[in-house]
């Protein structure tokens, strides 16, 4: 009985310590955000960028976890290197810049980024057909800023996303006192948001889907940077069922306040045998991943999936 009582007391103490550490961590995060906020307020976008150097540098020097997470990707992207410290710094620094950019745009309504869209004519031609189109993108580059500044395409843009991303997107536009320029379809809604997405496509609208991360549902196995992984196939099936074209559109940060939005591929998925949908959709999923690989050849440090992508 006494041993049980001791165990309970120890467990309770451990729980208290964990909670305290979590609270300290949360407070440190909040402090970090506040420091960046004050820096941006008084020293602008440039000031925040300068502050990134020591902050990211500290993470790279002192955090083993950062290296563990980033090297999963970096070793595949740069297989012939021996040391990845500089690459880790570049990757984390690049991601931090995107976060600062988003915060800066949110805090400063007058701030503007200059964007270039390659493939605008193709996009407009596809839209003009009135059948809708599916824009496939990934967690790379500066997608939120780029998508919110797409030139007027004269059709509503819908984005299929999950709840946390929806909140972040809405918060960003709330800060700028702007309505969200795209309609958000939650993928945890009725039928994963797919019926709402197909209704939008039937009206000739655009539906944007992040096609890199796999959470659940049907998938295909693809080769990415020489290794196999799983990716979702819902977007290709949706395109096949609704006879809609798929456009692979990826964004990249090309300067301090510049970005590029570019079409990397366009294709029309077809599904002849629904009972073999995973096999049939595999080639389309591979096309998307091949486009992503080509993108990463040019922008290797704008990959923002910080987990083991090959075990998803």
């Amino acid at each position: 009985m006494d041993t049980n009582k001791e165990k309970t007391t120890t467990n309770y103490k451990n729980l208290k310590i964990k909670r305290k550490r979590k609270t300290i961590k949360q407070r440190l995060h909040a402090l970090g955000h506040w420091i960046f906020y004050v820096t941006m307020k008084f020293f602008g976008h440039k000031g925040a960028y300068i502050l990134l150097w020591p902050v990211v540098g500290s993470y790279v020097i002192f955090s083993k976890r950062i290296h563990k997470i980033t090297q999963i990707y970096l070793k595949k992207r740069f297989p012939n290197k021996r040391c990845y410290w500089l690459d880790t710094f570049k990757l984390v620094h690049s991601f931090s810049q995107v976060l600062v950019d988003r915060a800066w745009l949110g805090l400063n309504p007058k701030a503007k980024f200059e964007g270039k869209l390659e493939g605008l004519k193709t996009l407009k031609k596809l839209i003009a057909k009135g059948k809708g189109l599916i824009l496939l993108t990934a967690h790379v580059g500066i997608w939120q800023v780029a998508f919110s500044n797409l030139p007027d395409l004269n059709v509503p843009v819908n984005v299929l996303m999950h709840y946390e991303e929806e909140n972040a997107a809405k918060h960003y536009f709330d800060l700028r006192n702007q309505p969200c320029p795209f309609h958000i379809i939650r993928n945890d809604g009725f039928m994963g948001g797919l019926i709402e997405a197909s209704a939008a496509l039937s009206k000739g609208e655009i539906v944007t889907i992040m096609a890199d991360r796999y959470v659940h549902g049907p998938y295909a196995r693809v080769k990415f940077l020489g290794y196999e992984t799983r990716v979702p196939i819902g977007a290709y099936m949706l395109a096949a069922i609704t006879a809609t074209p798929v456009v692979v559109l990826l964004t990249a940060k090309t300067g301090k306040t510049n970005y590029l939005v570019k079409i990397w591929d366009v294709f029309y998925p077809i599904c002849k045998n629904r009972s073999k949908k995973e096999q049939e959709m595999q080639k389309y999923a591979q096309k998307f991943i091949d486009a992503l690989e080509e993108y990463l050849k040019i922008y290797p440090y704008q990959w923002y999936n910080f987990y083991d992508f090959w075990k998803q």
Binding site: G189, F190, M191, G192, L194, I195, E196, A197, S198, A199, S202, G217, P218, G234, M237, L238, I241, T242, N273, R274, S275, K277
Partner: protein
Amino acid sequence: MNNLETLKNKLKEIIVRDLKLIDVTPEEIDDNAPLFGDGLGLDSLDAVELVVIIQKNFGVQIIDMEEGRKAFESIETLAKFILERQEENS
């Protein structure tokens, strides 16, 4: 056989044929069994296909997600929904 019964039978045939359900016949589908998850076991992609099928065969669109959720509960609710919509449209 009234309109509702005819429509339910037609829906069952179309679902089995167009969704290529190999392990069930139209006669085996219960009017009140859930279409998704347990019951007929359709998934979200089947739902999208069903929306397209309904539009093509019955001229009825599902745009409002709340009404879609109710309509897609079973063959019974789906048939009633289609009939109501067709009456409204005419």
